[in-house]
C-alpha cells in the first residue's frame, strides 16, 4: 500500500464517526484506530435540552398561529396605524374587532389601501410599527378569533 493511499484514507476518515478500520490487501495489512470524537451532545448536554425547548416553543407557536388569524399586507408600502398623524389608531392591542373593520392603512404611490379584518376577534399582536415599510405578504396583525 502506497503512502499516498494511506494519507488519502486518513483524510477521508477525518469527517466520519469511524473509530477503527482494518484493511487487508495483497498480503499487506493496515489498521487504523483512533479515539472517538466527543460529539456536541456530550460536550454540552444543556444545548440539547435548549434545542428541545426551542422545538416545544416552535410547536406552541405553530399551534398559536393555527388558532390565531394572521392579517397580511396585500401590497408593498408604508404601514399607518391611524387615519391621520394626530388621530387615535384604528385598533390597539386588546381591541375587539368585527369582520370588515379597518385595522390599518398601507400606503403606496399615495394609494391608501384600507386593510380589513377577515374575522371577528381580539387583536392579540401588532407586528409592525407605525410608519414602517412592509413587504408584500408580511404579517401585520394576529387576531384571536371569538
Amino acid at each position: 500500500m502506497e503512502i499516498d493511499e494511506i494519507k488519502q484514507l486518513l483524510e477521508l476518515l477525518k469527517d466520519t464517526d469511524i473509530t477503527e478500520l482494518q484493511i487487508e490487501r495483497d498480503g499487506s495489512k493496515l489498521k487504523i484506530k483512533r479515539e472517538r470524537f466527543m460529539s456536541s451532545f456530550e460536550i454540552a448536554p444543556h444545548v440539547k435540552s435548549a434545542a428541545s425547548a426551542a422545538a416545544k416553543e416552535e410547536a406552541r407557536k405553530a399551534e398559536e398561529t393555527q388558532r390565531l388569524a394572521t392579517i397580511t399586507s396585500p401590497i408593498v408600502g408604508i404601514f399607518h396605524m391611524s387615519p391621520a398623524p394626530e388621530a387615535p389608531p384604528f385598533v390597539e392591542f386588546g381591541s375587539t374587532v368585527k369582520k370588515g373593520q379597518v385595522l390599518c392603512i398601507i400606503e403606496a404611490m399615495k394609494l391608501m389601501n384600507e386593510i380589513e379584518s377577515d374575522v371577528d376577534g381580539v387583536i392579540s399582536k401588532i407586528l409592525v410599527e407605525n410608519g414602517q415599510p412592509v413587504e408584500y405578504g408580511e404579517p401585520l396583525f394576529l387576531i384571536e378569533p371569538t
Binding site: 397580511t72 396585500p74 401590497i75 408593498v76 408600502g77 408604508i78 399607518h80 387615519p83 391621520a84 398623524p85 388621530a87 400606503e107 403606496a108 404611490m109 399615495k110 394609494l111 391608501m112 389601501n113 384600507e114 386593510i115 380589513e116 377577515d118 410608519g131 415599510p133 408584500y136 405578504g137
Partner: protein, 299 residues
C-alpha cells in the same frame, strides 16, 4: 424594468409637436371675480360623458360631506365606473384627513368608483393614471403647462392645482373597490384660498387669467380616464408609464424625499413598472421608494 426620460426623449418631442400645438379655443363663459355661470345641475352633469366604463352612472350632489365618503358607502354594491360628483363639499379631504378647500360654484370635486380585476399590488398605477388624465386634460383644454410631481401631484408653476385621493378596500388577493377622488381648482380666485395655502395652491383661473368651463373640463378628464383605464385593463402598463413620464417634472432632477422623519436626497432616476420612484444616492446606491413627499431641489 426602469423607465427614464432619456429613453423616451425622441417620442416626447414628436408628441409635444403633435398633440399640444396650441390650446383648444376656450368656451365662451361670462365670469366675474372668478365665478362662472356654468351652474351644475343633475341633468347637465349626467350628459357630460358616458363611456363604456367611466360614467355609466353619475350621481350628483349640490353639497355632500365628501365624494369619496359617498363612493365608499356604495362600495362593492356600486357599478364600476360610477361617478359621484358634488358642487361643494362640507368636509373635502386629502390624504391623512387633510382639508381640501371645497367651495361651491367654482371647482370640480368627484370620485370614480372602480373595481379593477387585477391584484391589489397591481393597483398602484391607478393613482399615476389619474394624474395623467387630469394633467393632459388641463393642458389640452387650457394650454396651461400643468405637470406631474411624483407620484400624482398636479402642479402649475410649482403650485398645486389639483389633488388626487385614492382609497382602496382589498383583501390579500382581490380588490373590493377603489374610490378615486379628484379635486381640481378651476375658477377659485386667490381671495378664496386661505392664507395658509395661498403660496402652495393655485387654480386654473389664477393661472389663465380667465374663467374655465368646469363641465367641459370634466368631460375631457373623464374621457381621458376612460382611455387610460382601458389601457390598464388591457395590461398595457408601459404605455401609461410612458405618458406619465411625458407629463412628469420629477425624473432627472435633484430631489429630496421625506418619509416619516427620514429625509433622503439624490437624483430621481426613473420609475419602476409599479410606479415606484427610483432614487440614486450620491454614493451610487439605488433605492426604490414607494412613499414620501418629493421636493425638487435643482432642475
Amino acid at each position: 424594468m426602469h423607465f427614464t426620460k432619456e429613453t423616451f426623449m425622441s417620442k416626447r418631442r414628436t408628441k409635444e409637436n403633435k398633440n399640444y400645438p396650441s390650446p383648444n379655443p376656450l368656451p365662451q363663459v361670462e365670469g366675474a371675480r372668478g365665478r362662472v355661470e356654468d351652474v351644475f345641475s343633475g341633468e347637465k352633469i349626467k350628459t357630460v360623458f358616458k363611456g363604456d366604463i367611466i360614467g355609466r352612472e353619475i350621481i350628483f350632489y349640490e353639497i355632500t360631506a365628501s365624494t369619496n365618503d359617498r363612493a365608499m358607502e356604495i362600495g362593492e354594491r356600486g357599478i364600476e365606473g360610477t361617478i359621484i360628483i358634488a358642487d361643494a363639499q362640507e368636509h373635502g379631504r386629502g390624504r391623512f384627513d387633510r382639508e381640501w378647500i371645497s367651495p361651491p360654484d367654482v371647482n370640480l370635486y368627484f370620485t370614480v368608483l372602480l373595481k379593477p380585476p387585477f391584484l391589489p399590488k397591481e393597483a398602484t398605477l391607478i393613482t399615476l393614471m389619474a394624474a395623467v388624465a387630469v394633467v393632459s386634460a388641463i393642458r389640452e383644454y387650457t394650454g396651461l403647462n400643468a405637470v406631474i410631481k411624483w407620484p400624482n401631484d398636479i402642479l402649475i408653476r410649482g403650485k398645486k392645482a389639483a389633488g388626487i385621493l385614492t382609497e382602496m378596500k382589498s383583501s390579500m388577493d382581490r380588490i373590493d373597490y377603489v374610490a378615486l377622488g379628484i379635486g381640481v381648482n378651476v375658477n377659485m380666485s386667490l381671495d378664496m384660498l386661505p392664507e395658509s395655502v395661498s403660496t402652495l395652491a393655485t387654480s386654473l383661473i389664477i393661472e389663465k387669467g380667465q374663467p374655465v368651463n368646469r363641465i367641459e373640463l370634466l368631460g375631457i378628464i373623464l374621457s381621458k380616464l376612460e382611455y387610460w383605464y382601458k389601457t390598464l385593463l388591457s395590461n398595457e402598463r408601459k404605455a401609461l408609464l410612458k405618458e406619465w413620464l411625458h407629463l412628469d417634472s420629477t425624473i432627472g432632477k435633484e430631489i429630496s424625499v421625506k418619509i416619516q422623519d427620514r429625509v433622503v436626497s439624490g437624483t430621481a432616476e426613473g420609475i419602476s413598472e409599479e410606479g415606484e420612484l427610483i432614487l440614486r444616492f450620491p454614493s451610487g446606491n439605488i433605492e426604490k421608494m414607494c412613499a414620501g413627499e418629493v421636493t425638487i431641489l435643482k432642475n
